[in-house]
């Protein structure tokens, strides 16, 4: 079985983001970029499936500007076999990404597509579900455990009240939650090897997909800041403040 994993290039999760003064977005110039953490989990899961003999080939796809090549190289260094880069400077919304993935699926015919449940920049949590709908495939979102057979995937999902297990017919879409696995670091030899792996480049035009945004961002602002920092001396003082000053107990 062939596995397709989607990887997004985002501002590194350790970077404290800055909103631009003109309110058009957040500062991305000279900011460290990395693979979306949930997508790392997706790559790791694909590699484990391959190592367990449940999959033969892993194709990593990323979409966006030239820099996405680095993100694909990271996936290749972890253990993906080859990459596909959809080159565009248009800021892609989840629906556009889902349509592009659909076009790639038509060529690649994977048995399973694994994506992160959400990207940590736009926090949308949409792409996997949208792709599944466009393909008329079943989906298993927020996966914390994945068992694959030739025709089905049994997936344990993290839901609000606890865990839920479903069985879905393949081909299907799975999106990863945090506890599915702990992604590996690429070893130096594997990083060197990854430089020789192929990355095919294509464009939305070549895939015949209209990726014009549907939403207009009117402004991006900083959230209201909290005033904290007051320290108290004793639990008696704390209980007194909670009862009489804040009046919350």
């Amino acid at each position: 079985m062939k596995l397709l994993v989607a990887v997004k290039r985002v501002i590194d999760y350790n970077v404290k983001i800055r909103v631009k003064a003109d309110k058009t977005g957040v500062e991305t110039a000279n900011v460290k970029m990395s693979m979306n953490p949930f997508d790392e989990i997706a790559v790791e899961e694909a590699i484990r499936l391959k190592e367990a003999g449940a999959a033969k080939e892993i194709v990593a796809v990323s979409m966006g500007p030239q820099g996405c090549q680095e993100t694909i190289r990271t996936a290749l260094a972890m253990g993906a076999d080859r990459g596909i880069h959809v080159l565009t400077d248009i800021a892609l919304e989840p629906l556009a990404v889902a349509k592009l993935l659909k076009a790639i699926i038509a060529k690649e015919q994977p048995g399973l597509v694994i994506l992160g449940k959400q990207a940590i920049d736009d926090d949308c949590n949409q792409t996997g579900q949208m792709l599944a709908a466009l393909m008329n495939w079943p989906q298993a979102t927020f996966a914390s455990k994945l068992k694959l057979t030739a025709e089905t995937a049994e997936v344990t999902r993290e839901v609000d009240g606890g865990l839920e297990t479903i069985a879905i017919k393949l081909p299907a879409v799975v999106t990863t939650d945090l506890r599915l696995n702990e992604p590996r670091y690429a070893s130096l030899p594997n990083i060197m090897k990854a430089k020789k792996k192929t990355i095919d480049q294509t464009t939305p035009e070549a895939l015949d997909v209209n990726v014009q945004p549907r939403l207009t961002t009117l402004q991006v602002t900083e959230p209201v800041k909290r005033q904290g920092g007051k320290k108290l001396g004793s639990v008696e003082e704390l209980v007194d403040k909670l009862m009489h000053e804040a009046q919350v107990i």
Binding site: I17, D123, C124, M130, T217, T221, P223
Partner: protein
């Protein structure tokens, strides 16, 4: 202009998040209808009919809807979508699961996790784990929206008496099958609905030590939560997790015990009205957003706080 709110429920009653989504839908203008989809869920539909501001309830009752599978719920919502200007649901794991399928088939953008309604086509939503707020305008004919519960008050269960119409359910896709679940039976309030939350982090050192927090919680009528570090360490199950990737909460009082205050945790609780931090590291980032901080060993402070609360609250 009419909005359809897709309700989250457990068959017998509505989940709290539904009431918040109704309030957001009312803010979008026009009539509000509520869809209750499930198996044997008339009681939840009757509850929805009483909510203030609800003009009509649609009841879809079919075995295929019992477990709220995204494939089935999405197909049902799509069969009703043409009559609506807005499709709205809570941004819970239920809503997040099916709603993007609806948006994709309608070929429209989804606006996820909105925190404010500025106009019928303009919404605000947090991005970058709440470290920025984006105001976006949708040009699509149907607005597909998920709602952050903590940003909207809950619609009141009033004297409403909206009619309940039964709607036809599309044939099941057969793509997905429910195998089982492990849903925690809580003796305490649910995190997202609790007025007070006591949360523990890595500093708790073990799952056993969470008993200290449970005792505190029981005195305050509070829910018990945890940071990602505590969940990843196996102290408590995943459904305890508060944070960017766990639950987003905004109670009246949030007591953070042994939690340092990683960005991803703050993203899930910084809209709480009053925040108390108990931590031995006085440089911990949690203190920067806490209204009241106590620096010291939590294994001394928490039992002392427990005793003080027992004393003070007993007099009331």
């Amino acid at each position: 202009m009419t909005s359809l709110v897709v309700a989250e429920h457990d068959g017998k009653s509505l989940k709290g998040a539904t009431g918040h989504a109704v309030t957001a839908a009312i803010a979008m203008g026009g009539d509000v209808h509520v869809l209750v989809a499930g198996a044997g869920c008339r009681a939840a539909a009757e509850e929805a009919a009483k909510l203030d501001g609800v003009a009509k309830v649609l009841l879809a009752d079919d075995a295929s809807l019992e477990h709220g599978a995204a494939e089935e719920i999405a197909a049902l919502v799509l069969s009703l979508a043409k009559d609506y200007s807005h499709l709205v649901t809570p941004a819970t794991t239920f809503g997040k699961n099916f709603m993007p399928r609806v948006a994709a088939i309608l070929d429209v953008a989804q606006i996820s996790d909105i925190s404010a309604v500025i106009a019928p086509d303009i919404f605000e939503r947090p991005i970058y784990a709440g470290n920025a707020i984006a105001r976006v305008q949708s040009r699509d004919p149907i607005k597909v929206v998920t709602v952050r519960s903590t940003a909207f008050a809950s619609a009141k269960a009033g004297s409403g008496n909206a009619p309940i119409d039964t709607v036809a359910v599309p044939a099941s896709s057969g793509l997905t099958r429910f195998v089982g679940n492990a849903i925690a039976r809580l003796e305490r309030p649910e995190l997202t609905a609790a007025r007070i939350i006591v949360s523990g982090g890595r500093g708790m050192q073990s799952g056993d030590n969470f008993k200290l927090l449970e005792s505190l919680a029981d005195k305050l009528g509070a829910a018990v939560g945890a940071s990602r570090a505590a969940v990843d360490s196996g102290f408590v199950p995943n459904d305890y997790q508060v944070g960017q990737t766990g639950k987003i909460v905004a109670p009246e009082l949030y007591i953070a015990v042994g939690i340092s205050g990683a960005i991803q945790h703050l993203a899930g609780m910084k809209d709480s009205k009053v925040i108390v931090a108990i931590n031995k590291d006085e440089e911990a980032p949690i203190f920067q957003i806490a209204d009241y901080g106590l620096v010291g060993d939590l294994f001394q402070i928490v039992p002392a706080l427990d005793a003080e609360l027992a004393k003070k609250l007993a007099n009331r």
